[in-house]
Symmetry: C2
Subunit: 203 residues, 2 copies
């Protein structure tokens, strides 16, 4: 990753190294991107550099749902057309983008910024659960949909939230587990198949 | 490519769009890179932004070989350990990096910044051929190795250079054409096979 080319200019080596630190960008593509940018208009390189700087200086966490926001509230919390009776709880801000892609869900979100993981020393107090409970205690929410990942950590977090929220008389549901669309049964792993059988639905 | 997410912050959308303009970076990976950078240390994002800006402000073309340089001369022309009797002519600066990778060649380079292409209106006067001839007329060069691409444009350029340089009494060679290492004959294309037969070597 930190490989440099003594035959190339220092400036070029520096950009190749910085690009190669990005996930999914190997030394070869870092090199290709660098030479592409060398030939691209200066405006394009500048716009990219400025967008990078803005990412850190202009964004903050939404004071309500902890999604990424340009101001106090994120675009979803600012949107008065959305239902306030449902909150979908996710682990990361990027999960919201994936879910919003279908434009199916019209309620609110809450970003935990992680999941409970005893092995990594992440407890309930380390993620935004307190803040979720504060939102629920303000009233008006009738359903919490848990959208944590179908991993050990996600499942642990989901069980924890269920125990915490159900006593408040709020409905707690979670995203269905089962066979992903477009796959073949024969290639599904054991866990996915178990969940598909357990969660079988009337149709 | 210009797809935006109305549910995401403007700052995030801006970076996703700029990253998606890069070759080989689709909207999905632009999104993944953006959320990765959001969580990365601010120093990393800053270093990347600064390296991008430096690429345009701190580099220039080497006054001798037209490779990318941080100053007047590129690292290869500055290196006094290299032979000055050979010049390897390439189309683009990135070709030098590929060739230097093996540390086999110890001579000089010359970057044409293109190849002759009648269909795209690129003539001999549009690439750095004049500058190459000026270097040759200064004396001391005994061999020019033509390393243009094995494409129609590269071959045209190579024939043009051969006709121009041979009368000066300088040896003109070109990189061997043939079967690439590690491939199977059965999958080689007709042109590659023709070149492999024509250029067959004693062993």
């Amino acid at each position: 990753m930190e490989k440099t080319f003594p035959q190339a200019s220092d400036t070029i080596n520096r950009l190749i190294q910085e690009l190669a630190k990005l996930p999914g960008v190997g030394p070869k593509s870092a090199q290709r991107l660098t030479y592409y940018l060398l030939r691209a208009p200066v405006e394009q390189t500048q716009a990219l550099a400025e967008a990078l700087m803005a990412l850190k200086s202009k964004t903050q966490l939404c004071v309500s749902c902890f999604n990424i926001a340009d101001g106090e509230l994120c675009p979803i919390c600012r949107n008065t057309q959305r239902k306030t009776s449902q909150i979908l709880v996710v682990e990361q801000p990027q999960d919201i983008l994936a879910l919003e892609h279908m434009a199916l869900y019209k309620g609110q979100y809450h970003v935990l910024h992680g999941a409970i993981s005893p092995t990594e020393g992440v407890g309930a107090g380390d993620i935004r659960i307190k803040e979720l409970m504060r939102r629920l205690s303000a009233g008006g929410v009738t359903e919490v949909i848990v959208g944590t990942n179908p991993t050990v950590e996600g499942e642990t977090t989901s069980m924890y939230l269920k125990r915490l929220i159900a006593p408040l008389g709020i409905r707690v549901t979670r995203l269905a587990r089962g066979l992903p669309f477009g796959t073949e049964l024969e290639y599904a792993d054991d866990m996915t198949l178990s969940r598909a059988i357990e969660g079988r639905q009337e149709f």
